[in-house]
Amino acid sequence: MTHQPLLLRIVKEPMAVSLLSVLILAAFLVPMLNLMLPSDSAFHVPSYVVTLLGKYLTYALLALSVDLVWGYCGILSLGHGAFFALGGYAMGMYMMRQIGDRGVYGNAELPDFMVFLNWQELPWYWYGFDSFGFAMLMVVLVPGLLAFVFGWFAFRSRVTGVYLSIITQAMTYALLLAFFRNDMGFGGNNGLTDFKDILGFGLQTDGMRATLFFLSAMAVVTGYLVCRFIVDSRLGRVIVAIRDAESRTRFLGYRVEYYKLFVFTVSAVLAGIAGALYVPQVGIINPSEFSPANSIEIVIWVALGGRGSLTGPIIGALVVNYAKSYFTGALPEVWLFMLGGLFIFSTLFLPKGLVGTKAISDAFEEQRLRLAKFLRPYDYAEGGEGR
């Protein structure tokens, strides 16, 4: 099995095959149904559905990146929202520069928020963002570099478990506070908004929406393949070994910290790309993307979908976000009960997430066993993290 080509291996998994084919099909079909059919046709996909689905897909990519570190390497990052937001800011800065003199004050050099806060010139860290290529490089480089530096220190010091989770949370919280400051030159609480176009194509055209959707869908497919390639490789084996028994892996002679660093950085880059695709579709990037609650939510998508499975997080992100969109519209007063209830229900009854095979029946069986264990007192407590 190990030496079969990647695609052949995937083909043998019904879950992965169906998910990927649906994604690829949607990547082509949805834009076509949106652009080519008249809006009164029964098969027409309205533009707002296209953007909405596109947004879900960027979330799916983000969830995938979290699953790579958490599901496969046992690193529970409560700060992945930071990498997502940094990627988003890089993209936002590019689009901000593209506005040029079409802002309300007509200043060709400075974004509006800098004009009315009396900035005289563009801060140095905004240089280069008028070039699309440079901005795309930054989308990958900034989150990657932050993850590399952060991971370099944390993994070498052997910070693990909840300690690691909490310092990732501290990281995203510190960034949240920093980006809130208007003195930082990233637009403070209002963030970056009022984008006009990318590479000269208007953001509010159907064509652009369809393109972004297509790119998001393909990004998820590519992200899946990349992750799949990593976890199936020899390196992936070591990574799983680290998750299951870190000390033992280290004693076998593996430099655990380098493996972790690699996965963590790759994951941050994926999150950054997701952020870059997210911002043009929602039209705003603001520091609240850094908020620790957002990062916790990502973890919840992964857990709900089923971590350690790669298809799970994609499904989890899509399901939770669809539920959120639906409930906030249909049941605005009680949707938090529904969402909260969903989380509790799925932890109790779907411990392997939605994609765990025979999930429901297994879960019920497991509950029965647990109950039995509880009634007959013997050790049920010792279980390691990440199992």
């Binding site: 909840v162 009960f337 209830g341 932890t347 109790l348 509880f374 049920y380 390691g384």
Partner: protein, 544 residues
């Protein structure tokens, strides 16, 4: 120079002086007094100001009563004919009194009486006038207040009465304050260089930011080189001493912030630290405690208003019981299925926290609820050195330490504590020794939740009581517990106070936001140094 108001002030002072000098209290001009009172019900503030001056100028003993009623908002007028009346609480009923005769006015119903409105400017004026009127009062506290008001007003027309008061004063503390007020007036208004130098010397002995400001002003503006130089020297020496006090002030603020962090985190130190439940609903337990306080106060306010000062004493056990009970429900209903899967507790408790927030929002509405401060928690110990120790902060520091102390006692000295430690350290062994680990788990979680509820009582005194209350503290709580070392109460204590103090010492230099960012970066770096927190647990359990 001698303006009209100044002349008025002279009159006030003089009349008080005469009144006291002769020990006479017979209102010579009864009509003049009631006319002056009546004039307070003027249409505009300028007329009201004049009426206040006129009233105090009558020198009537009753003027102080009327003016302080005006200041405290208990002076009313009858809508039909504009008669000015005082309101007084007599038992549970409010009665209205004619200030001239001190007799009850029977024919005014409550709704017919309208409050005489004043604004900030009039409030300031009233305080000054009342200061002068009470400088010779029999009550030492009143005299002290008066001396402070006179110092604040820094008005040369008050000098004679001040000197008279100093001569009569026996209380050394009050006398000191009067001397301070006198020196301030002399330094600023006198022409006599020797007197001014002496005044500057006197002022230089005080440690007070107001005095430093006054000395600075003189040092900058005085034309007399001698006075100028001495004022500068004295200001420097005052500033030097003030710096030490401001250090103390910072320290207090840091300790106070630390105590808030400690309170917020100590419950989590049990549910997360000891039991290993990543309890994202911890903040909501704090919130439930705060809402319990609100409920308790609401009941007391409607049924036993006299017992309001005791509301917190009732709220603390009530909050403990309510949140403890919720804790038992949560543990039995959700958490107990998740032992051994710590990360999944995060998911379930996050869901729980969303539901609890929404539940409170549905029951109480999304707006802030009013939780009052009992009188013993309002106000501050205010020293003249600019150091302000607010009572609520002091009580919260005491309370947080008491809670931690009690918790330490429970875990170390009681049977339950022993069982709790046994179960968390080795469940199998504890079970085989006959400990009902299920119940111990439930009670431990209840204890942690109950403590969070008690923290909510304290936090309701300084923060919003709204459905979002818990969210404000949850991240800080986790930082504190992890920084201090998971599973170690001592670590939580040291962690909370050191984060609080560091934060408060950074704030003046870096500002509130940057200060907090530095603290967070500091935590990240610190964890690199000590990957298991300040006080790491040793032994096998750390590998869990």
């Amino acid at each position: 120079m001698l303006s009209k108001t100044l002349a008025m002030r002279w009159l006030v002072v003089l009349s008080v002086f005469i009144g006291l000098g002769f020990g006479s209290s017979t209102p010579a001009h009864a009509d003049e007094f009631s006319d002056a009172v009546q004039a307070l019900n003027a249409d505009n503030n300028t007329d009201k100001a004049a009426a206040i001056e006129a009233l105090s100028a009558t020198g009537d003993e009753r003027a102080a009563t009327v003016l302080s009623a005006l200041l405290n908002g208990t002076l009313f007028y009858r809508q039909s004919d504009g008669l000015v009346v005082l309101s007084k609480e007599s038992g549970n009923v409010t009665i209205l009194i004619d200030p001239s005769t001190m007799n009850e006015v029977a024919d005014v119903s409550g709704s017919e009486a309208k409050k005489i409105r004043i604004n900030n400017k009039l409030r300031g004026q009233l305080k000054g006038v009342l200061g002068a009127l009470t400088l010779l009062s029999k009550d030492a506290d009143k005299r002290q207040n008066a001396a402070d008001e006179v110092f604040k007003a820094n008005d040369p027309s008050m000098l004679p009465v001040l000197q008279k008061a100093i001569a009569r004063e026996s209380d050394p503390d009050v006398k000191g304050r009067m001397l301070r007020a006198q020196a301030a007036i002399i330094l600023e208004y006198s022409e006599d260089t020797a007197a001014r130098l002496k005044a500057a010397q006197t002022l230089g002995e005080f440690t007070d930011p107001d005095i430093s400001a006054l000395l600075g002003k003189i040092a900058n503006t005085s034309t007399d080189p001698e006075v100028k130089k001495l004022a500068k020297d004295m200001q420097d020496s005052v500033e030097g001493r003030l710096a030490a006090w401001s250090f103390l002030g910072n320290l207090f603020q840091g300790v106070s912030l630390g105590s808030v962090l400690l309170l917020a985190a100590v419950g989590l130190a049990i549910t997360f630290g000891v039991m290993g439940v990543i309890n994202m609903a911890h903040g909501e337990m704090v919130m439930l405690g705060a809402y319990t306080t609100f409920m308790v106060q609401d009941v007391i306010r409607t049924h036993f208003p006299a017992a309001f000062d005791w509301s917190l004493a009732i709220a603390v056990p009530a909050a403990f019981l309510v949140t403890g009970a919720v804790g038992i429900l949560v543990e039995r209903g959700i958490i107990r299925w998740l032992y051994g899967r710590p990360l999944e507790t995060l998911l379930a408790t996050w869901g729980l926290s969303l539901m609890l927030q929404q539940l409170i929002r549905t029951l109480f509405g999304p707006t802030n609820q009013e939780v009052g401060n009992p009188s013993w928690m309002s106000g501050a110990i205010e020293t003249s050195t600019g150091l302000v120790l607010t009572y609520n902060r002091i009580w919260i520091i005491v309370f947080s330490l008491a809670v931690l102390g009690m918790l330490a006692l429970v875990t170390r000295k009681t049977m339950f504590g022993l069982q709790m430690r046994a179960v968390t350290q080795n469940r199998a062994m504890a079970n085989s020794m006959g400990i009902r680990s299920g119940w111990v788990d439930a009670l431990t979680f209840a204890l942690g939740s109950g403590i969070a509820g008690m923290a909510g009582v304290a936090l309701s005194q300084i923060d919003n009581v709204s459905p979002n209350l818990g969210q404000t503290y949850i991240i800080d709580s986790f930082m504190v517990v992890v920084f201090g070392g998971v599973g170690n109460l001592w670590g939580t204590l040291v962690g909370a106070f050191s984060l609080g103090i560091v934060n408060k010492f950074l704030e003046p230099y870096a500002g509130a936001v940057l200060g907090k960012i530095f603290v967070l970066v500091g935590i990240i770096l610190f964890i690199q140094k000590r990957p298991r927190g300040l006080f790491a647990l040793k032994g096998r359990s750390v590998e869990g």
